[in-house]
Amino acid sequence: MPDLGTGEPLLRTAHQLIVENDDIASTLELPRLASRLDVIREICRHLAPYQAGERPIVGATVIAKDLTIDSLAIMDMVMELEDSFDVSIPMNVVAEVHTVDQLADTILDLRAKR
């Protein structure tokens, strides 16, 4: 598992490629498929402000427990990720997700099902 908490400059992520709320967007595939690493990077970018002490944020980080983020902020982050990766993650699915890895896999699964 790469250490993703080092603040290295982000590569281009799907987040920057989406044409939001444009009717055309629905007919276009994302210019590039989001890789698992892209998704993890984007999640870590959102979680960075909630890092507890020096402990890096990694795939196994338990979002609600190992970080200083509260449940409302988690839901708000999910809303941002939904738009970055053009998927919707129902609240009951979010409730089952605990780690960064699980969140990334959920996003990738939902993208694959589209």
Binding site: E20, D70, L72, D76, I89, P90, R114
Partner: protein, 409 residues
């Protein structure tokens, strides 16, 4: 693990709040004197945090109606609407609310909380899709926990955020139900309802609007945001409460759907709780007549909103985005908010303090709610007090700003 261990985090935050010497969540109204004044801690206080938008809690005609009803029919119904708790007056009240909205059906609930909880969780089920505004009231969030439908949040007051979520559903089967509020309870802002309705129409979604804080306040005849934005016919369900503008307690839902009445035997928060007592039904029926007969209360309310909002804005306070009967004052953090609240109490003014996790985006707020019967002097006094405290706490600078904000009538 002890039963209360899971609340350790909250307990700590709550302790923080209480160390200031007064507990904002355990304020005791020793005696309520009028819609705008009460005795708290042995002192007369100005009330600017009671959701009593038209001041009808002490309206003589509403009080008389309630007293008469108690004499005629007793203090309570001791039963639910589907058993012994449906009196002629409950049915008349339902007819009057339906008529007020020009809708065919109305169901009355014992609280607005139960109306949202029961109606929303029952309208959608397995395989359906419920889309809610991120800043929705707790009663809406609780309904989400009770339904089998898939629930997705969209960004607050952002029709394009709703649209991308409806678009993503594509041709998935299942009904789509979108939940909006007329006026949001923390910052007093209104939904861009017409734009939302256009999106819902495009994707064939049903619309439910909670007019809890907008009943009476918005619209030519006080029917709320649905009326003021001209989309009454496009809103499939309107929910509201008797606990704010109408000065009592209770909730309702109106609709034109021909099968609406099936909810009477499916919504559990309607079926398994006692119905409203006769006195409440009577005072609410009268309050609705007052709302219809006295449109000047609406004018007074918005004049008062302008006085308070513009006065605070001119002093440099950061407020909610637009004029509304709720004026939310942003403060930098929880402790400043509680300190500010406490200083106001010391100065004889009661407002609400709202801190995370009860607020959107983790903001800390003083939540003021304006009443049509506040006097200009009361509100100007409040602005003066808040300006003084704001400067002492370093929340605002010493020099007032000029700022003009559009009204939202």
């Amino acid at each position: 693990m002890g039963l209360f261990d899971r609340h350790a985090g909250l307990l700590e935050a709550y302790r923080d709040v209480r160390t200031t010497g007064a507990d904002p969540f355990q304020i005791r109204m020793e005696r309520v004197l009028s819609p705008t004044e009460a005795i708290i801690n042995g002192r007369k206080m100005l009330l600017v945090g009671t959701n009593n938008y038209f001041g009808l809690t002490f309206d003589p005609s509403c009080m008389e109606a309630a007293i008469e009803a108690i004499r005629a029919e007793g203090t309570g119904t001791t039963g639910s609407r589907i058993a012994n708790g449906s009196y002629s007056e409950h049915v008349l009240l339902e007819q009057e609310i339906a008529e007020f909205y020009g809708k065919k059906h109305c169901m009355v609930f014992t609280t607005g909380y139960q109306a949202n909880l029961g109606v929303i969780s029952t309208l959608v089920g397995q395989g359906d899709h419920l889309l809610i505004d991120a800043d929705s009231h707790a009663s809406i969030y609780d309904a989400c926990k009770m339904t089998q439908a898939e629930v997705v949040r969209f960004k607050h007051n952002d029709p394009s955020s709703l649209e991308s979520r409806l678009r993503r559903l594509g041709d998935k089967p299942g009904n789509r139900l979108v939940i909006l509020e007329g006026i949001y309870s923390m910052l007093g802002d209104s939904a861009p309802l017409r734009e939302f309705v256009d999106v819902c129409k495009k994707y064939g979604a049903y619309v439910l609007v909670d007019e809890a804080h907008s009943l009476g306040a918005l619209g030519e005849t006080g029917r709320g945001l649905c009326e003021s934005t001209g989309v009454l016919d496009d809103c499939h369900f309107i929910v509201g409460t008797f606990s704010k503008t109408l000065g009592a307690i209770g909730g309702y839902c109106v609709s034109n759907d021909p099968d609406f009445d099936i909810l009477r035997v499916t919504v559990r928060s309607y079926m398994f709780t006692a119905s409203l007592p006769p006195s409440i039904v009577a005072s609410v029926r009268q309050a609705l007549r007052v709302v219809k007969a006295r449109p000047e209360l609406r004018t007074q309310l918005w004049d008062n909103v302008a006085t308070l909002y513009d006065g605070l804005a001119a002093q440099g306070f950061k407020l909610g985005p637009e004029h509304g009967p709720v004026v939310g004052v942003h403060l930098p953090d929880r402790m400043t908010a509680v300190g500010f609240w406490r200083a106001m109490l010391d100065a004889g003014i009661y407002v609400n303090v709202a801190v995370p996790p009860a607020t959107p985006n983790g903001v800390s707020l003083l939540r003021c709610s304006v009443c049509a019967v506040h006097t200009r002097e009361q509100l100007e006094h409040m602005i003066e007090v808040m300006t003084g405290i704001g400067r002492q706490l370093g929340v605002i600078s010493g020099t007032p700003k000029l700022r003009v904000v559009a009204g939202s009538r």
